[in-house]
């Protein structure tokens, strides 16, 4: 196996890790508006991802950084061509991150409500934008021979971008609901199950469409195999969730996303970003990659780093393995200035 091929696989692994992990916490972010009915339920949802979301988001930074290091021409072409949508992704991610930390810091309805919207919309924007970007790197952008975009800012807006955006949003919602089923108890758990079972076939349609489009355009005969596997996994997930077997359902979704992403990346290989203007200008794993020396150095780093990350992140999930419910959520804590007239004591009761 050549080094660029190895790194192509590693990038695919990083994106899979990202979609699998941040998939559910982006989903939970959106579900805070769709699924929760009162403040305590919203806090239950937020606390299911509270300890882990930041670690999950680093998968995105790592995927971006690794693309920069291993395939600088791919990174440069893709990120600059998608300038406006990525700006919106950044805004979404910023609001989402800040919302998680700041939402509970002031006990007022206006404050928490504003941050819930920031969380839900930020999660949606990030999921949609990342999905659109990933779809476009498989279906192509109007690039010239240098990898620079030809045409104006909105050339990215096409049917593939919309399918990709909806694909990731849909997957995140289903995955998020399955995660909520697994991590919570009580009314919210039941509602998450209804949501997942009822809407899964619709919400996962776009991602299936994306996989099939890529397969029909570029697939090899053997890339049908992961697709068949993914379909079997998703059917298994649906049946399991319906039966209330949450862990099995979640596992099914995990296998689904692993095989789905594998099918997409395997189909397009060796192309990493096609030019829609001229096939000779396609960026491929070979012509977009860093030098063998750099790839070798990065291979050692990844061989050491990735298993380590998996080990301690896995441990985190084990530490926070217990279910939570509204009964576990303590009352909000009012923050009042500590001054001599005893105002604190008055304002403290909730």
């Amino acid at each position: 196996m050549s080094l660029p091929m190895l790194w192509f696989i590693l990038i695919a692994v990083l994106w899979t890790g990202y979609l699998f992990l941040e998939g559910f916490d982006l989903g939970v972010g959106m579900l805070m508006k769709l699924l929760a009915r009162d403040e305590k339920e919203r806090r239950v949802l937020l606390n299911t991802i509270g300890p882990v979301w930041d670690g999950n988001e680093v998968w995105l930074l790592t995927a971006g950084g690794a693309t920069f290091a291993a395939f600088p021409l791919w990174y440069a072409a893709l990120f600059s061509a998608l300038y406006v949508p990525l700006t919106l992704v950044l805004v979404g991610l910023i609001f989402r991150a800040v919302s998680i930390e700041y939402r509970g810091k002031v006990a007022s309805e206006r404050w928490t409500n504003a941050w819930t919207w920031a969380m839900a919309l930020g999660s949606f924007l990030a999921a949609f934008g990342i999905g659109a970007g990933l779809a476009l790197t498989t279906t192509g952008l109007p690039l010239d021979e240098h990898g620079d975009r030809v045409g104006s800012w909105h050339t990215f807006l096409n049917v593939y971008a919309v399918i990709g955006g909806l694909a990731v949003v849909g997957f995140c919602l289903v995955h998020g609901a399955a995660f909520v089923m697994m991590k919570t108890d009580g009314e919210i758990r039941r509602r998450a199950r209804d949501f997942a079972v009822r809407l899964m076939p619709v919400l996962l349609l776009p991602i299936v469409a994306w996989v099939l489009i890529v397969q029909v355009d570029n697939g090899k005969w053997w890339t049908w195999l992961p697709i068949l596997g993914a379909v079997a996994a998703v059917a298994f997930a649906w049946i399991s969730l319906k039966a209330g077997e949450e862990k099995r359902g979640f596992l099914g979704l995990a296998v689904f996303i692993v095989l789905g992403v594998a099918a997409i990346f395997a189909s397009v290989y060796p192309t990493v970003l096609p030019s829609t203007l001229n096939g000779a200008w396609d960026l491929t794993a070979q012509n977009a990659s860093s030098s063998p020396y750099t790839l070798k150095v990065m291979t050692f780093v990844a061989a050491f780093g990735v298993p380590l990350v998996l080990a301690y992140q896995g441990w985190t999930y084990w530490v926070f393995r217990k279910r939570i419910s509204t009964a576990n959520i303590p009352d909000a804590h009012t923050i009042v200035a500590q001054v001599g007239d005893g105002r604190y004591a008055d304002g403290a009761a909730d």
Binding site: A77, R103, V301, V309, A337, Q338, G342
Partner: protein
């Protein structure tokens, strides 16, 4: 303004903003970890309260650093695609390693710390905080390595006009990075300690004007308590007094470390980027005197328009070379050297747009470098003396009741922030017109003009859109963050410890609620 100018403003604004959060994270993190270690060792309540309170402030700030950090990584590809293509083989590696080897540790273990109170065994809970703090310190190293490569490219060969890494060890032990890294860490510690001193000063002052603490005839503190105000007990006094004293001492140490490392860095920079240092001095002619005040039209960037009014003979030579009589090269001398080595005009490449073939100005914007250099040093020195003053004024156990002194103490929190920002603006603007500065003793041809780095396919309008959007978002969030920090600061320790306000759960309740604890959000 064209795409290049807008992209530079955007990089400047987003980076300076990001670097308000970063040094506080780097500086406060180790202090919180030390407080928790002391609590673990001694079991004394004030260390626990210090951990909780300063930990809360740390987290309110940390998240903003996370949120704005993603913008930094994406921006290289989005707005600076030709830069990314040129440097990717070398520069991408430390960025990827930062994410994989450092930021993962920082984020994962911080999540464990936030939610791990009372859930993880005490020793392990302390361990995860240390892991997160070490992760952040490690992360700074990778970023400094990346930045230092732009200041002083090493470990490379030139293949097809692009630098290729051939010696990773050289990149990661770049002498520019090895002197910049401790300088940045010491500067960050100055930021963290100024916050400790300023906020602790406020609370000790509050306790005095509220009549909680008083002083005897010799000015020694008499500690009191106000049971009707939650958290205003005797332990609370220890929290603030210890924070202030530790903050002041570490601020002094950090100040000295900043000066020493800054001096080493300057000496290196005189060799590596002589033009940056000459323009920091607005030094037109060769000489050895350090300018205290240079007037005239620095903005014109022309040597005919500036006059040095006050100077200290020999000091510049000392800063650059360690003796008092070796001359330092001035701008007038350096320009022809640069022109001969790196050309007089930008290449006539259509990818440079309207800037193709333009004449290159090798002199960085002198008002920025001259005043940036002085602001960095000036604010740094004042801040360190603030630490000495705070230490002296509190020697009898508390602060004076003077309101203006308290306000000064709180305002002084800003000083090391400003010094940090000025330092970065100086060092990055002083590198212009290069984005990758040439290494005078390195390989010819490994340098890049900033004008050639911007994304050729991205329009000025797009970059303006993101500049306006990000600036508005950042501005709004700055208001929110400062508002929250103020609120939590005024509320004191109970802001981070609801248990001081609400009723204390009995051991049985605690047992029943075993799964409940530490839901932070």
């Amino acid at each position: 303004m064209d795409a290049l100018d807008i992209a530079r403003w955007q990089f400047g604004i987003t980076t300076v903003y990001h670097f308000f959060m970063v040094p506080l994270t780097l500086g406060l993190g180790p202090l919180v970890a030390i407080f928790q270690t002391l609590w673990y060792r001694t079991g004394e309540e004030h260390w626990l309260r210090m951990t909780k309170f300063w930990g809360k402030i740390y987290l309110i700030n940390f998240i903003m650093g996370v949120a704005t950090g993603i913008v930094q990584e994406f921006q290289f590809g989005m707005a600076w695609s030709d830069y990314s293509r040129f440097v990717g083989d070398v520069f991408g590696a430390p960025l990827a390693m930062e994410a994989l080897l450092a930021f993962f540790i920082e984020s994962t273990f911080l999540g464990l710390w936030i939610f791990g109170w009372d859930r993880l065994p005490k020793k392990l809970h302390l361990g995860v905080l240390w892991a997160a703090v070490i992760g952040s310190i490690l992360s700074a190293y990778f970023i400094i390595v990346a930045n230092s490569w732009m200041q002083h490219p090493v470990g490379i060969e030139l293949v097809n006009g692009r630098p290729r890494m051939n010696d990773a060890w050289a990149v990661f032990t770049n002498n520019t990075a090895l002197v910049a890294y401790p300088h940045v860490l010491a500067g960050s510690l100055a930021v963290g300690t100024a916050l400790l001193v300023g906020i602790a000063w406020y609370h000790l002052w509050r306790r005095r004007v509220d009549g909680v603490d008083s002083v005897d005839a010799e000015g020694r503190v008499i500690v009191g308590d106000h049971p009707e105000v939650p958290g205003r007990d005797r332990v609370d006094y220890s929290v603030w007094m210890k924070s202030l004293r530790i903050g002041a001492v570490v601020a002094i140490v950090a100040g000295i470390a900043v000066a020493i490392t800054g001096d080493q860095q300057a000496k290196l920079m005189f060799q590596q980027q002589p033009m940056k240092m000459a323009s920091a001095e607005a030094a037109c002619e060769n000489g050895g005197a350090l300018s205290i005040l240079t007037i005239g039209n620095l903005r014109s960037n022309s040597c005919d328009d500036v006059t040095t009014l006050i100077q200290i003979p020999g000091l510049l030579s000392f800063l650059a070379h360690g003796d008092f009589d070796t001359d330092v090269q001035g701008v007038a001398d350096l320009v022809p050297i640069y022109q001969e080595r790196y050309g007089t005009n930008l290449p006539d490449d259509p990818r440079l747009g309207a800037r193709a073939g333009q004449e290159i100005s090798y002199v960085p914007l002198m008002p920025v470098t001259y005043w940036g250099f002085r602001a960095m040093i000036g604010f740094g020195i004042i801040s360190m003396f603030g630490g000495i003053l705070a230490w002296w004024l509190t020697r009898k156990g508390t602060v004076p009741t003077a309101t203006w002194l308290m306000r000064l103490g709180v305002a002084a929190i800003l000083l090391p922030f400003l010094a940090n920002v000025a330092g970065w603006i100086f060092t990055e603007m002083g590198r212009q017109p290069f984005v990758v500065a040439p290494n005078p003793t390195g390989i010819d041809g490994v340098f890049m003009f900033t004008a050639a780095a911007v994304s050729p396919g991205v329009s000025a309008g797009e970059i303006l859109f993101s500049l306006v959007t990000l600036t508005l978002v950042y501005g709004a969030l700055a208001v929110v963050e400062i508002g929250l920090l103020t609120k939590y600061t005024r509320a004191g320790v109970p802001s981070a410890m609801p248990e001081l306000v609400h009723h204390q759960p009995t051991p049985e309740e605690r047992k029943k609620a075993d799964d409940v604890l530490a839901f932070a959000y």
